[in-house]
Structures are given as C-alpha cells and as structure tokens.
Symmetry: D3
C-alpha cells in the first residue's frame, strides 16, 4: 500500500506537468508510471530523479538494454518489487527475451552466492587484480 | 586476512588439480586466482561452484561481457571487495573500457537510489507491469 | 501472512501483560501494535526487545523525532514493510510532516546511491577523515 | 585500493574545476575530498552527483545535521567504510557530539534488529498504520 | 505475482520431469513446490540449482536441521518471503519446534544489530581472532 | 581504523568494569575483546548489548554452537568483517571444525543465491507453506 497519493496529470502543477511531458516525449509513450506519480508529491525530487534517470539510462558506452539488465540485477539483489516489475517491462520493451531474463537471474544469483564465499573466507585480493582502471 | 590457507597446485589433490586444469583450459591462462585456491579446501565445493560459474558465465542469450557487468553490479551492491576487483579484471579482459565501468557504476548507484524511493513510498506496481514473461 | 499468532491482552500471561501495560503507559495509548503481539509468543524476547526499544528511543542527546527518522532510514534501506509503516506512523505522531518524510527519503536514496559509488570505485578514505571521535 | 586515479585540481578540465570550485564555495573550505576526485574521471557523473548532494543536503524541512545523521545511518547499514568516515567528519563539523554518534548507532543497530524480527515473523501491518501521508 | 508460469509435471519436458522425480525421491514426497516449477522454465538452471541444493543440504559435518536453520537465518536477513515460508516448513518437517524458531530469530536479529555496531564503530579485529582455520 | 578509543579495564568506570567482569565470568576467560571495549564508550549501551548477547546466546532450545553458526551466517551475509572473525573464533571454541565452517559457508552462499531466484521470479508462496507455527 503506497504511503503517498499518486498525482495524476490533471491535478498536477505546471512544474510537475513539464516533467511528465518530458517523460512522455523521451519514452515516446502516453504512459507515466506510478513511480513518477508518487515522486510528484515533491516536485524538486521528481525533477532531480527524472533528470538523473534520463541522463544515466541514455545510450552511451553501454547500450540501453544492458543498462536495464543491470538495473534489474540491482533491484533483484535488493528485492525491490516495484523496480523488478517496472524494469522487467522496460527491458522487455527494449528487446529482452524471457531467455535473457533467465540468464540474467542466473548470473545475479551466482554473484550473490560467490560474494558470500569470498567475504566469508575473507579471501585476499590477488596482486594482479589490484590495478586501477586506465584513463578515460 | 583470509580465514583459509590457499591451496597451490603443487599441494593439491588430484581432484583439485583436475578443476584447476579445467579453469586454466576454459580461461586459456595459466593463472588460477585466490578464490579457487580458497575453495579448494573443500574439494566438492570447489568442483560445484566452478561447474556453476563455467555454465552460467558461458555465452548464451547474453554475451559474456554483459554477464561480467552484471556480476560487478551485484558485487558493488553487496560490497564484495574481492569480487569487484576480480570481475573488474575479468570484464576488462573481455573488453570493458574504463568508460563502460563508469556508466555501469552510474546505473548501479541510480538503481540503489530509486529502489529505496520505490520501497520507501511503498509504491503499488502498475497494472500493466504485472504481466508474466512469455514462454521460452 | 504472519508466521505466528498474535497474542491479545486477554489471552496473555501475567509476564506478557506487564510488558503490554508498560508499553501503554510509556506511549500514553491503549494501543499495542502487532509487533509486540507477535513477540509475545516468546515472553523473554518480548521483554528484552521492549526494554531495548524503550531505552534506545528515549530522549537523549538525540531527540525522539530524530530517532524515529533514523529508524525509518534503516527500515527503508532494508525494505522492512512493517517497520516503514509503523515508524512512519510513530514519526508522524512525534511531528514529522509529509514534507519531512520526502526529504528523509531523498537523503536515504542519495546515501544508498553514493554508498555504491564509494564502494564500487574502492575510494580510499582521506587521511583527515581517519580521526577517532573524541571522548564522551 | 581505489580502482580509479584521483583527479587533482591542477590536472582537471575546466568542467571539473568548476564543480570543485562550487564544492569549495558551498562548503566554505579549500578541501575537496577523494570521493569527488574519483568521480571526476567521469565529469558528467561528477556534476550530476554533486548537484544532487548539494540540493538534497541543503537545509529544508530537515536541518543539515539531521540529514548527516541519516546519511550515516544508511552508510552503517550498508557498511560503506568511506561514507561512514566522511559523513562522521561532516556531521561532527555540523555539531554532532560523540554522544550523539553513540545514540545514532544504538538506533541504527536496534532498527536492524527489529527489521529482522518483523520480517522473520512476517508480521501483518496494523490497519491503523496503513494510512497514506497527508498532502504537502 | 510471479513473473513466470509454473511448469506442472504434466506439461514438463522429460528433462524437467527427471528433476521433479529426483526431488520427489530425495524428499520422499509427491509434492514439488513452486520454486522448482518456476525454475523449470530454464531446464539447465533447474537441474543445476537442484543439484547444488541436494548436495549442499545433505547430511555432512552439519546435520540437515542445522542447515535449514542457517537457510532461514540468511533468508530473514535478506527478507526473502518465499524462502522464509518454504524453509520454515522444511525445518519444521525436520524437527524445528516453534520455540527453536523464536530463538533462531532472536539470534538473527541480534547478529544484525551487532554487525552494525561493529561496522559503525569500525572496530579493529583483535589480533587473536586473526587466525586461519586449521587444515581439513 | 576504529572510530572510538578502546576502553581498557584499568581506565574503565565501575559500571564498565562490572560488565567486563561479567563477560569474563560468563565466558570463563580473562580476555575481553575489542567489541566490548568500543561499546564501553557508552556504558548503558555496553550493559544493554551485553545483557542481550548473554541472554540470547545462552543454551536453550538451540545449543550454543548452533547459535554461533547462525551468527556467522548473518555476519557473512552482511559482510561484517569483525563479526566473522570473532564468531569464527567463538564457534571454534565451542567445537566448530574447519569442515563445519566450509559447509556453513556453502549453505549461506546457496541461500543467498536462491533468495535472489525466488525474489527475482517473484514466486508465489505455496498454499501449504502458508501455515503459522504452532503454539509454544
């Protein structure tokens, strides 16, 4: 049960409407999902989070589908029901097949398993892994 | 400080050597990292975990680099130092550039942020997101 | 669905009733919430946890509302549905406005984001931050 | 060991320098901590995260010290070493006494404890706690 | 709401049926729970995870009931609703009494509490605790 | 690096010394580990946490070694370095063999894996698992 009212477009302030319009234009859809309608209770937060999502999830060195898969990986690890459902839908829209989802979950589950083996045995990092990444 | 001794090839039983040999052959390298040398204290665990890693991380519907990125995403979320270093190295060997790593972290961080907004506001999942994935 | 029966006052042992009475007296209410009714299945646990809550959440160097906000911050990070709802109610009773809740969530979400950036890049702690806190 | 080089002011691009200058001006200090020097490897990320931190941590319905305490609460729950040290320093600068830190940790620890009791027993949320927060 | 269809025995491929038969034989029951019916969408994953569970949960240096208790401890810490319910049932079948469950939760909760005190104060590990475990 | 000074017996107040004495008497050792010396900065916290540990970890429906194993399971899942080392030592003193530790980690890792499969697929809890535990 949500702790906040969902702000529909009709009831929204101009500041909120502008964000909703940008969401629709960016995603080429008329649909604005509950996440944004909840955040709209705090218009500066809505704007700030949307700006970050728009910027971070845009195509770059990683393609948008890979970014959606990573988003799901984190959401499954943290057990965020809303985020799993919404990003599974988002990833599907970007081309994720059910088989890709299965493999994604397999990797997420395996990483959660081996993370605990490495942490539990307190395994020292190999010297050759202790290298900084190169310059951009 | 590791809680277990690292088992070197020379001191290893035939069962452990067989796994080490398979790791080397699969990865086309002479290097076996500390993770496996720690697990070798429990040979059936070594074999079981290696079998899973070999199977799950192989090319499939997702390519191996994407799987490495997902592995890092989980390891960062859980804060597994060993796994971040070893999989950053692994991903780099498979083609991850520093810029891709930056974008990966940006998505991981953003997902960790929005997971808490969705969970904190207890946002209801939109009806249209409540669809099962299709058949394989 | 709860895994335990909720113990109502009428069905409770004298030991449990004494704790319920102390909860009511301390909180100046007739209402005892489900958390305590669940713990009452294990009377020593009920007493121990209540004693800790009573002691820790009392006014001190931090005021009770700040303590409630911190409680929510942890509960959101861990995704404890029960605790988010009960402490949102508790904080509201102590003066938390909806606007304060929005800002609280914004900080919680941001901290969850930057925690992963710091952990993911394995950033060394600055020398000047490595100072112990002073004496009490 | 950090995975990225730290970008010092002297070696920084104008875009990065502008953010460093804003950090210094906002915080009224010449000191820029490692977190920002690490993020500077990805200038748009540096700018975006700094903008969020500046906005979210500013005085509002919650005062800046309370926000720092909440930041620490999340960082302790997630075990982010860097963030615990840097925000303990930040909170101290804003007036946190060692005694306040002790009480903060006591609440954080207690919430982590009761979160597991509520989740472990799967306790149903009381009807009276199922109320949305009011309008802003 | 599950993201995948549950594969019933009648609709299952021979590969999946073989795993279901092994689950039934190993557990001496006709009942196959939803977890396996969900994994059956990806038959190699079903086989791999079942093989691991069968191997890891078998009697060894730890008895099966202790293993079930540990499983619950992890599931409560991570807040996995499905796993708490299914392993509470599994542990009960192996002899866990409600009183044992109460004590289990008390330990889980306490460990979650003290983990944050140790991490929050950044307490150095005592020299005498820095010993590797002995040979197997 | 610890954020607090460690309070040695010689420098401790009578209130703190009384707790140290009880720790020594209960554990039949002259050794007081750093955890308690850190908590001693806040004497009421020291007393409260020690009282809880003494009560919760005492023999009951679960024996003390099982409780230590559960403690380790939680600490590994949360990645608390201090707690893993101290409770590995504590469990060893109570009879944990290295082989038991290996099996413990195997279960912890497996549970962390399957928790994500159950949460990721959002698997519905089987009807027959939805039973409350019986009366104590």
């Amino acid at each position: 049960m949500t702790l906040v009212s969902l702000i529909e477009f009709e009831a929204a302030s101009p500041e909120v409407r502008a964000v909703y319009d940008d969401i629709k234009a960016t995603r080429k859809t008329e649909f604005v999902n509950n996440f944004w309608k909840a955040l709209a209770n705090d218009p500066p937060m809505l704007r700030r989070v949307w700006t970050s999502v728009k910027e971070v999830m845009a195509p770059g060195a990683l393609d948008p589908l890979v970014k959606e898969l990573v988003y799901i990986a984190v959401s499954v690890t943290n057990n965020c029901e809303y985020c799993i459902h919404s990003h599974a839908a988002g990833a599907t829209a970007k081309g994720m097949t059910p088989k890709m989802f299965d493999e994604l979950l397999a990797v997420v589950a395996l990483a959660n398993e081996t993370n605990r083996l490495a942490n539990g045995y307190r395994i020292d990092v190999d010297e050759r892994f202790r290298l900084p990444l190169g310059p951009r």
